[in-house]
């Protein structure tokens, strides 16, 4: 057992014993080789189930907003749960975003900040590919350290990468027709299982626009145009909010390159509004705010010919 993992287990056990949290969301060993999976631990004895290794790729913040949903019928005995979460840099950024958007009361969350050397992903379902590769999101991660940790577990972390978005720049150089072709090709793989949405910590809407039937924004039929509308709409809802954790990418059973598109939003949020969600930026998400001198060079001026 590595030392970091031990310290994390001890911290988790302490929190549970001390009664300052009701549960800890962390990782346990998955049922398949080269996997770690989310788990909820409710008593100190079980803290030894928690693991910390290079396969802890999921963003655990996705489970958090649901824990704070109040019961439909008000109950007298309802208490706001107190939740501990084993967090990487990206999980931490997501929590910060959820706190900013008032989905989660900060005081009820205890963040166990983990040192993160980057997580690996292996192709799903292939038996013999043992190696796994460092996830692209980790290679490009600009803030591997957990910024708002309540308990910081010591250990070696990756150095922050420089925000450069090389794939976005490269993609932008392609012709509009070529970009559309690639977008269409990627999206047409989608089977509309909604894994991207459900795995995304930012997709906490009680009823997603894609599930609304009155009006019906997107038909449940998995026709390409509906699927495009779904992804454009869902991804754009992350504009200025996406923490680039790749939860959507990792959840997708079809291997759709959603990162190619979500990164554009991250890149734009940084360039246009100086916002790195969960790291820097205004007190509200950039699209909920404005400045008098925001750029409007994109707008059409009919008198300018």
């Amino acid at each position: 057992m590595n030392n970091t993992e031990k310290k994390m287990q001890e911290a988790a056990a302490r929190l549970l014993t001390g009664g300052s949290v009701d549960c800890i969301i962390g990782f346990e060993n998955g049922s398949l080789p080269r996997t770690a999976r989310p788990c909820f631990v409710r008593n100190a004895k079980d803290a030894e189930r928690l693991v910390w290794n290079q396969w802890c790729v999921a963003n655990l913040a996705a489970f958090v907003p649901k824990l704070f949903e109040k019961p439909q019928k008000p109950r007298k005995d309802y208490k706001t749960p107190r939740v501990g979460i084993v967090a990487k840099g990206c999980d931490g950024r997501s929590i910060a975003g959820l706190v900013k958007e008032q989905q989660v009361p900060r005081a009820s969350i205890t963040i166990i900040g983990m040192p993160c050397n980057g997580m690996k992903t292996a192709p799903k379902g292939e038996k013999n590919n043992v190696a796994g590769e460092l996830a692209r999101t980790c290679i490009e991660c600009v803030s591997p350290a957990v910024m708002h940790a309540d308990i910081a577990i010591e250990g070696e972390s990756r150095k922050p990468a420089k925000a450069a978005y090389p794939r976005v720049r490269e993609f932008e150089k392609k012709s509009v027709a070529e970009r559309w072709r690639i977008f269409t090709e990627e999206i047409s793989r989608c089977i509309r299982c909604n894994a991207c949405r459900e795995a995304c910590p930012n997709c906490y809407c009680k009823v997603c626009f894609a599930d609304q039937r009155k009006p019906s924004w997107v038909s449940p039929a998995a026709q390409v145009s509906d699927t495009m509308a779904y992804h454009l709409g869902r991804m754009f809802h992350q504009a200025g909010r996406c923490v680039e954790c790749d939860a959507c990418v990792n959840a997708c059973p079809m291997g759709i390159d959603l990162r190619l598109f979500t990164q554009k939003l991250a890149s734009d949020a940084r360039e246009l509004f100086g916002c790195v969600p969960g790291v820097t930026g205004e007190d509200v998400p950039p699209l909920n705010a404005f400045k008098q001198d925001d750029s409007e060079s994109f707008m059409t001026d009919p008198e300018e010919r």
């Binding site: 559309w180 269409t184 089977i191 026709q223 991804m235």
Partner: protein, 150 residues
């Protein structure tokens, strides 16, 4: 909406804010200003009310282009609706262009209640821009009928 794929006579869906741009369009009409008849106007309370989904839905349902127009900065009936909209549309336009939807198809502008002439020339410009594009009905044309049996 026609079913053809040609951009000869494109359909432009225009979301106009109730207080300025819709009045501007009205003024263009009252002043007997000529502008292309390709535009289908949808009146909204404020440019800030225009959800990006409206634009995506319009494209998906077969619009060749979408225009959103609101009050000039400082003139918003709701003080700052247009300024919030400006940020949203800056990112939306960039994002859609990135995904391969030509920027000519999705345009934003300011038109005040007194700018009938500006409205008419705006429509002329948008229609001319969309006519220049090689294909019509971007999202709808792509795949409404294609099914994904894989």
């Amino acid at each position: 909406m026609t079913k053809s794929n040609a951009t000869a006579e494109p359909t432009i869906v225009a979301f106009l804010c109730n207080w300025c741009s819709y009045a501007g369009a009205d003024l263009a009409g009252v002043s007997r200003l000529q502008y292309p008849a390709n535009v289908r106007v949808i009146r909204v309370p404020c440019s800030g009310r225009v959800d990006p989904l409206y634009i995506i839905k319009a494209l998906q349902e077969g619009a060749d282009g979408v225009l959103v127009a609101g009050c000039h900065p400082g003139d918003c009936h709701y003080i700052s609706g247009n300024l919030v909209a400006r940020r949203k549309f800056a990112m939306l336009r960039s994002f859609l262009e990135y995904a391969g939807i030509e920027p000519e198809r999705v345009q934003f502008s300011w038109v005040s209640a007194s700018e009938g002439g500006r409205f008419a020339s705006l429509i002329e410009k948008v229609v001319a821009d969309v006519k220049k594009l090689k294909t019509g009905k971007k999202m709808a044309g792509e795949s409404r009928s294609a099914s994904l049996a894989r």
